[in-house]
Symmetry: C2
Subunit: 153 residues, 2 copies
């Protein structure tokens, strides 16, 4: 339970970036693809994903064993990349750099999911919705780059 709370607090730090840099007039003014989700979908999705992330990390940390520390190294990498993406895109308005960060995040989550699976298949599965969402958010970020060529990198 303590482990779960430590990991949850780490996700809260990453999630806090969404409150510090809310989607304001800059985002409203961007040309967006037709499949852009409504604004309310983002905090709902992230809340669920952060809970799953904390569950996965706590489960692997609780089980331990030889593969657990590698899995948690990837867990640390994904939360750092996760915390970086929102400030880059919604704080600094750097869409192209955002694509680079989310590509790194995707690879980090993929590695984390595989490494978690090896310790606990349930923990690995818990990261799959996150992987899917990051893939989707990456596609959206890339579409925003293409549809808004005048935006800075």
């Amino acid at each position: 339970m303590l482990l779960f709370l430590i990991f949850l607090l780490a996700t809260a730090c990453a999630g806090a970036t969404g409150f510090v840099f809310p989607t304001g007039s800059w985002y409203v003014g961007l040309t967006k693809p037709a499949w852009t989700p409504p604004n309310w979908a983002f905090p709902v999705a992230w809340t669920l994903l952060y809970l799953l992330m904390a569950f996965a990390g706590a489960r692997v940390a609780g089980i331990g064993g030889p593969g657990a520390t590698t899995a948690l190294a990837f867990w640390a990498l994904q939360i750092a990349a996760n915390a970086l993406w929102t400030p880059v895109v919604f704080g600094a308005h750097r869409l192209r750099l955002g694509v680079g960060v989310i590509a790194l995040l995707f690879v980090a989550v993929l590695c984390a999911a595989v490494a978690h699976w090896r310790v606990s298949p349930l923990a690995g599965l818990a990261l799959l919705p996150y992987l899917a969402w990051v893939g989707f958010a990456g596609a959206l970020n890339l579409a925003l780059v293409r549809l808004n060529p005048g935006e800075r990198g």
Copy 2:
């Protein structure tokens, strides 16, 4: 070595916030205490601290054992809080919120240092300069709040 690189990449994500939000005219215009370090000291200090952090995480992950996963949970928490602080202060210019974030970061680094020490005293020691620097940066952040009462929260 792979573990070291994973942790180093995580610190690079946190450190990237310093490039995305450089100290610009807003920071120059703040009233600062006499003991404020010169600007060049910050990237130098952080580079050294990030290397020590990655060393500490990799050493604990490499040794493993019962206390290692708890130590790495705190490692993940500290890097998430670390990645949040720069965007809050230098991106959103929220000095008071910055004090809250750096207080959380200080507690996270303290817990991480103790938990790392239990697995490997060398890894615990490697986090002490980081703890000292965060204490110093927190005092600086607090001084900036007091010297610039007109700044937003």
